[in-house]
């Protein structure tokens, strides 16, 4: 009986937190169907009093939504695939090989996570400018090829894979390339799903660096476009909410598809050994 009460209380707490977390998101979606005068009205209603699709229709008045969306999708998928692979292979090397300076190398990788991004953004801009990569997707992809967080996560994950499996493969004549691609990668699905979701989310919503690096409107990303709704004196809230509501769909899809592996991957990475 006591256990049942505890469970009910826990569920009530979790549901309450869930509601608090969800309400701003749902309010945004509901408001995307309101006119600006209703969004800024003194007396707010959750659902629109006068339902309108005009915000969705007028999104393109600020920028070419579809173009920006496609650009974001391309960059996000490309970077996610690359980072997943580079993190897995680096994690494999750091987790399963013993070599001199391994801990130092891992420490250096971890230290990259400690430096605030705003400290590095100007030197990064200067470097990219010197390389002549501004206004090119090289500026977005190449600096993001490796992720300190991804490598950390995958190293932790690799340490959960028993060495005996790898030894057995070696005895059977498998080379390291084969072991990584045919044994380690399939066994790392959960870790990969976690990294994929994090990386997808971060790249999808990354704003300042794409804005600084890209000026050509045909190459610009959606996160930058969403800022166009905020002007010098006013914000077009309705169109901004409509564009944001659509822009989060890929992120939701990614999470829904990899949800199970994501939770398992996070749990596994949290427990070493």
């Amino acid at each position: 009986m006591k256990k049942k009460i505890q469970s009910i209380v826990l569920n009530i707490i979790l549901i309450s937190i869930g509601i608090v977390t969800m309400i701003p998101f749902l309010w945004m979606v509901a408001s995307s169907f309101k006119a600006n005068k209703e969004i800024t009205a003194l007396y707010q209603t959750f659902l629109p009093k006068a339902f309108t699709l005009q915000n969705y229709v007028s999104m393109n008045s600020h920028f070419n939504f579809m173009r920006f969306f496609a650009n974001s999708l391309f960059i996000t998928i490309t970077l996610t695939v690359i980072v997943v692979y580079s993190s897995t292979i680096c994690g494999f090397v750091l987790g399963k090989y013993r070599f001199r300076g391994r801990e130092l190398l891992f420490g250096l990788i971890l230290s990259t996570m400690m430096i605030p991004w705003c400290v590095t953004i100007i030197p990064k801009y200067t470097m990219i400018k010197a390389f002549g990569w501004l206004n090119s997707y090289k500026a977005l992809i190449i600096p993001g090829l490796f992720s300190g967080f991804g490598i950390f996560m995958m190293k932790q994950h690799m340490e959960t894979i028993p060495d005996e499996i790898l030894e057995a493969a070696r005895i059977d004549g498998a080379n390291e390339f084969y072991i990584f691609h045919k044994i380690v990668l399939p066994m790392s699905k959960n870790g990969i799903a976690s990294i994929a979701i994090f990386q997808f989310l971060w790249t999808w919503e990354d704003y300042l660096w794409p804005y600084l690096a890209i000026s050509d409107r045909n190459k610009q990303l959606l996160s930058v476009g969403l800022r166009m709704f905020s002007g010098q004196y006013a914000t077009d809230f309705g169109a901004m909410f409509a564009a944001t509501a659509i822009s989060i769909i890929p992120v939701l899809l990614t999470y829904l598809i990899f949800q199970k592996q994501f939770i398992a991957g996070i749990a596994a990475s949290a427990v070493k050994g």
């Binding site: 969705y56 999104m59 010098q232 659509i246 769909i249």
Partner: protein, 468 residues
């Protein structure tokens, strides 16, 4: 199974939404910002932009018959924020005259434009021409090339040029000026039995009218006659002081002097309006402009931009605009103004690109049609003297309100943000934290002057036409 269904549903939503966007985007070609020499796009711009054959302009003139870059093809970037459609009109008009010039218009989000622009200008690859706002003067001016137009010619055509002259050079000027006026709700006005004859000229009149417009339910305010919540600093403490002959800065043009009798008098008037006259309350609405838009306040002082906000966000409000009241009808200056600036030219850009940028600036300054369009779009009063009585301009409520005394508004210069921020804190301290006016203004003044030590700011109040 359920998860898959949700995923499919979301994917479906995305596809449908994007299809919708695609349809709109197809109609978006008219606002495509790249003017190229391709046949289809030429056809699109042909309709909009007529090619003038004659020299036009007042003192600053533009001759469309003079080729640019010897008629050879050239491409430049033009960075701006805000309305692509507005800037596109410059691009369309200019490229119709000079089809050899390709202008890539790059729209930017307002806030981070000021992070990106200096980075881009610090090299040869930055935009040849770019939009400027004087509040970022210090960050940008060192990257600007001076205008290739004689200063005296600019002064003949435009007001306020002298304030923009640096060592004999002009790097940008104002094409329009914006200031604060009183927005009033006409329906509330009528319901209170007021007519146009009751438009207040003095602050005493303003309070009297505000009292008639205030509606209370017992002690609770239902409708504020006058609200100034959240903008005491920018609309009163940095503006109404001029009516009493009090500048924001001392005669050295560097020391801020907000701790003075005139500002204290303005501050006290506002406190009395709420506390003694009961025309509103510090606790009734967080922002005067929001309260006005939401139909909770009958009057509020706001700058020209509010005219656009009311039309876009509060289309049901039936409003009018009148000039800010004064203490005695004969103010030293009615209010402070700020300008919307013309464009900057990148001194690090290629020489040929700079020459095109200079030519675009001249085209913009000489072109009355563009001047009117930009001022109407921004709700600014034209700095170009010949447009002061332009019919289209005077049909705009915000501009008509200030037209009669346009030369009696003063620009203190590109005032650093610390002045507005510190006075905002002062207002909050007085209204909400029971601090005395004397202490709040002294604290604000000390903070401002401490912050100004690290700035290279120089006030230009002494250049005001009626400066004492």
């Amino acid at each position: 199974m359920r998860k898959r269904l949700v995923s499919m549903l979301l994917a479906g939503c995305m596809v449908v939404s994007l299809c919708g966007c695609g349809k709109t985007a197809a109609g978006d070609t008219a606002t495509d910002t790249t003017s190229t020499d391709s046949g289809t796009e030429e056809a699109a711009t042909e309709e909009a932009a007529a090619v003038p054959g004659e020299v036009f302009g007042d003192t600053v003139q533009y001759d469309p018959n003079v080729p640019i870059n010897n008629g050879e093809d050239i491409k430049i970037d033009f960075w701006e924020w805000g309305s692509d459609e507005l800037f596109q009109q410059i691009v369309d008009g200019y490229t119709a005259i000079h089809p050899n010039v390709q202008i890539e218009l790059v729209n930017n989000p307002w806030e981070d434009y000021w992070t990106k622009l200096p980075l881009a200008l610090d090299g040869k690859d930055g935009p040849a021409i770019f939009n400027i706002h004087n509040s970022y003067h210090q960050n940008i001016v060192n990257y600007c090339a001076p205008y290739d137009i004689p200063t005296e010619d600019l002064e003949k055509d435009f007001n306020g040029v002298a304030a923009h002259v640096i060592d004999g050079n002009v790097y940008y000027i104002d094409y329009g000026i914006m200031t604060g006026s009183v927005y009033y709700n006409k329906d509330m006005w009528e319901a209170a039995g007021l007519t146009d004859a009751d438009i207040p000229k003095t602050w005493d009149d303003m309070i009297a009218v505000a009292k008639k417009l205030t509606i209370k339910d017992g002690d609770n305010i239902v409708q504020a006659g006058w609200s100034f919540n959240d903008n005491v600093n920018s609309n009163y403490l940095m503006g109404v002081n001029y009516q009493l002959g009090q500048n924001l800065f001392d005669t050295d043009n560097k020391t801020c002097v907000v701790d003075n009798d005139a500002t204290k008098k303005v501050f006290q008037m506002l406190i009395d309006a709420y506390d003694k006259e009961g025309v509103g309350s510090k606790d009734f609405g967080t922002s005067a402009t929001d309260s006005f838009g939401q139909g909770q306040a009958a009057m509020a002082i706001a700058w020209g931009w509010f005219n656009n906000t009311l039309q876009s966000d509060y289309p049901d409000i039936n409003y009018g605009v009148f000039e800010i009241p004064t203490f005695d009808g004969d103010p030293y200056a009615y209010n402070r103004y700020n300008g919307e600036s013309t464009f900057g030219i990148n001194k690090n850009a290629d020489e040929k690109q700079q020459a095109v940028a200079q030519d675009i600036v001249k085209y913009f300054l000489a072109n009355d049609e563009l001047q009117v369009k930009f001022n109407l779009a921004m709700n600014t009063f034209p700095a170009k003297t010949s447009l002061a009585d332009n019919e289209e301009i005077l049909s705009n409520k915000a501009m008509a309100a200030i037209a009669d005394h346009i030369d009696k508004y003063i620009w203190p210069g590109p005032v650093p943000a610390t002045v507005e921020d510190s006075l905002k804190i002062a207002a909050e301290n007085v209204f909400y934290n029971d601090m005395s006016i004397d202490e709040a203004l002294k604290t604000a003044q000390d903070t401002i002057n401490n912050d100004l030590k690290s700035k290279n700011f120089e006030a230009v109040e002494s250049l005001y036409k009626y400066a004492k």
